[in-house]
């Protein structure tokens, strides 16, 4: 078994990140005209419509673990990533860092916790300031955070660039002078420069060509070993997640529907949605694939279906699914799924 596959050693230590009951509601205000009309007519003003981007999400990530977060567009992956990276304040829920709630921390501790969690984005171009040179993009934050003295920053940037596979000779260049894969490496170098413990990677390889994607995935695995990093790896690509993650979390319309160790989840998916995703995942093989067993569209997050959000598309749905939200049931240590069938089976 390779180095990168080693089991995270927890020794009873609390998770690096632990969130409970996270809700995130984005209010979409009713269109101004409607609001104005209602007011003039003396009618009650239209209720603001809320997108429940996250609906009661629990997640623990242990030290050294790579957790893959998978789901279709709009299910809340990036929102959860931003909450965990401390970029977005959730509507409700608690957030613990190494077992300590944020509200218990001194301002200085909170600041340090924030720096320890860094986020890497999908679009390697949009996330880099086009007017800054690479040396400043990578070197600015470590100086500001007092991690490296200003006098030593040039050498420090060289070292980080080498680690990320970019030639330090290029450090006076601007982002547009690099290819997509190189820009993604610069984004990774910038995040690493503040010596984080935890990286949230949001579709960090999605924009890259296959051969370049392989280089960046290998880099993530090397860095994990060299810097003892923990990852939340967000991706819609089931193949990439299968390759890199120790554990996978599947989301559907703002809720976690299944979580299990990677090998277990891919071999033995328990939730009907996970089963559908895996059946439809394109794989390189010598046989034709039978695509498309799952019917229907992804519903609008503005108006999610009642009960189990998946019921209009689920081949096994029964009356209870329309009425009642399934709880996330633990089937074995580390294995849980939210589907009424699993409860019925246990009866």
């Amino acid at each position: 078994m390779s180095e990168a596959m080693r089991k995270p050693e927890t020794n009873g230590a609390p998770p690096v990140i632990s969130v409970r009951g996270i809700d995130m509601v984005f209010l979409k205000k009713a269109p101004g005209v409607l609001d104005g009309l209602a007011r003039r007519a003396g009618l009650p003003r239209p209720e603001p419509v809320g997108v429940h981007a996250l609906d009661g999400v629990d997640l623990d990530v242990m030290k050294g673990e790579v957790v893959g977060l998978v789901g279709e567009s709009g299910c809340g992956k990036s929102t959860l990533g931003r909450v965990i990276a401390g970029i977005l304040d959730p509507t409700a829920g608690t957030f613990r860092f190494h077992g300590r709630e944020m509200s218990e921390m001194s301002p200085q501790e909170r600041y340090r916790a924030k720096v320890a969690v860094q986020m890497i984005f999908q679009d390697p171009f949009a996330s880099l300031n086009p007017r800054k040179r690479v040396i400043d993009i990578i070197g600015e934050a470590p100086v500001v955070h007092g991690i490296v003295p200003k006098a030593e920053i040039s050498d420090y940037v060289d070292e980080i660039m080498l680690k990320c596979g970019i030639d330090p000779a290029f450090k006076q260049r601007f982002p547009h002078q690099f290819s997509g894969g190189q820009r993604q490496r610069i984004g990774i170098a910038r995040a690493l420069a503040v010596k984080p413990q935890f990286l949230v990677c949001d579709e960090s390889v999605a924009a890259l060509d296959v051969s370049i994607q392989a280089q960046v995935i290998n880099l993530f695995m090397d860095l994990r070993r060299d810097f003892d990093l923990t990852y939340l790896f967000i991706s819609h690509d089931l193949g990439v997640v299968e390759h890199i993650a120790d554990r996978v979390v599947i989301m559907y319309l703002g809720r976690v529907v299944e979580t299990a160790p990677t090998a277990e989840l891919y071999a033995n998916p328990r939730h009907p949605y996970t089963q559908a995703l895996l059946a439809n995942m394109p794989r390189i093989s010598t046989e034709k694939q039978a695509f498309g067993q799952i019917k229907g569209e992804i519903p609008s997050p503005l108006n999610p279906p009642s009960g189990c959000h998946f019921h209009p598309r689920c081949p096994f749905a029964f009356d209870r699914c329309v009425a009642e939200r399934p709880r996330l049931i633990t089937k074995a240590p580390g294995i849980a799924a939210a589907c009424h069938l699993l409860e019925e089976a246990a009866r």
């Binding site: 051969s211 392989a214 299968e242 046989e287 695509f291 498309g292 992804i298």
Partner: protein
């Protein structure tokens, strides 16, 4: 073997030695530089390659849609035996939408945002055949139904913005299918879609081609999609086809070092937790291609001979060809 399907009948499309160059200020960009392809009735050909390899330009060239500063500078494109590279713009217009249709990554390339779906579909029908409104509407409705749009009758009265991305792509496909074309060129049409929606569309397209006998070229950067969908594959690198053959054969026995590396780069179950094969370096710029084989600077097998340009040659049979002087040994596991 899918290669000999149709027996002696000529393939629907035969492309030979196609060259499309762009004459830019920075120099001549040889985006397509000697491409050979063919696809027969009811057959699905996958055209794969990384971004910038020339896939889309190949598709546009077949359709006669290359604009300044680009030009087809060589080769031939024959649809049912008719030469298209020398056809008049009028003839090309009448073939497009009728005998050849294209589906793009962004369905809004096909759809007009300010017109109802019904209007667009009826106009497309009436552009090529004499047909009354009621009959055209009925055909439009059936076409929407065939690509899996629920309640097609009501949906005819919607505007494109009232559909999700997946639904819009289905409408674009329905429009492409209206005239029962002989050939469809689909350029990354599911790349922006979610897994379950992509799978629905792949399944519908597969069935439709089989039923109607339409020949399909499916352009994508994703080899996994092609391996599940296509009969044959053509792998493109720097403006040329570097390997082609039956999909199962190419995937299980890649002979060109680039194809071999590409398959090794795709994360998959049996490589879990291991390092992925890396193809070193990056795709070359068209403005500074290396002499001879364009893959040479990244190739583990390269030697002095590779300073010349290899031909696309039988590897070992004419049904499986690779453009390489030192192909990977037969049966090498990627």
């Amino acid at each position: 073997m899918s290669d000999v399907r149709g027996g002696a009948a000529q393939p629907t499309l035969v492309v030979e030695g196609l060259k499309t160059h762009f004459f830019t200020e920075a120099g001549v960009v040889k985006s397509v530089d000697g491409v050979d392809l063919s696809v027969s009735r009811g057959e699905i050909l996958g055209l794969v390659g990384e971004s910038g390899s020339g896939k889309s330009v190949t598709g546009f060239s077949i359709l006669g849609l290359i604009d300044q500063p680009g030009r087809i500078v060589g080769g031939s494109v024959k649809l049912n035996g008719e030469e298209l590279t020398t056809a008049s713009p009028k003839r090309l217009r009448s073939l497009r939408g009728d005998r050849i249709a294209m589906i793009f990554q962004d369905p809004m390339m096909t759809l007009n945002p300010v017109l109802k779906i019904e209007t667009q579909m009826i106009e497309t029908l009436q552009a090529h055949i004499k047909i009354g409104h009621a009959e055209a509407r009925a055909r439009a409705r059936d076409a929407l139904g065939r690509v899996g749009i629920p309640s097609p009758e009501e949906r005819l009265d919607s505007y494109p913005h009232q559909f999700s991305g997946g639904m819009r792509q289905r409408v674009a496909i329905a429009i492409a299918l209206l005239h029962g074309p002989d050939l469809i060129i689909a350029d990354e049409p599911t790349t922006a879609l979610d897994v379950t929606i992509q799978a629905q569309i792949l399944s519908e397209v597969q069935t439709l081609c089989r039923e109607t006998g339409t020949a399909l070229i499916w352009i994508t950067h994703d080899l996994a999609i092609i391996s599940g969908l296509a009969d044959r594959v053509a792998v493109m690198y720097a403006g040329r086809i570097v390997e082609t053959g039956a999909i199962a054969e190419v995937v299980s026995n890649p002979r060109h070092p680039y194809t071999y590396g590409l398959i090794g780069s795709v994360p998959s179950r049996n490589k879990r937790g291991q390092r992925l094969t890396q193809i070193p370096g990056m795709t070359p710029s068209f403005l500074s291609l290396p002499q001879g084989c364009a893959f040479a600077p990244r190739c583990p097998n390269a030697d002095a001979k590779c300073l010349e340009m290899p031909e696309l040659s039988p590897c070992p049979s004419a049904a499986h060809r690779a453009r390489c002087f030192h192909p990977m040994p037969e049966g090498a596991e990627a």
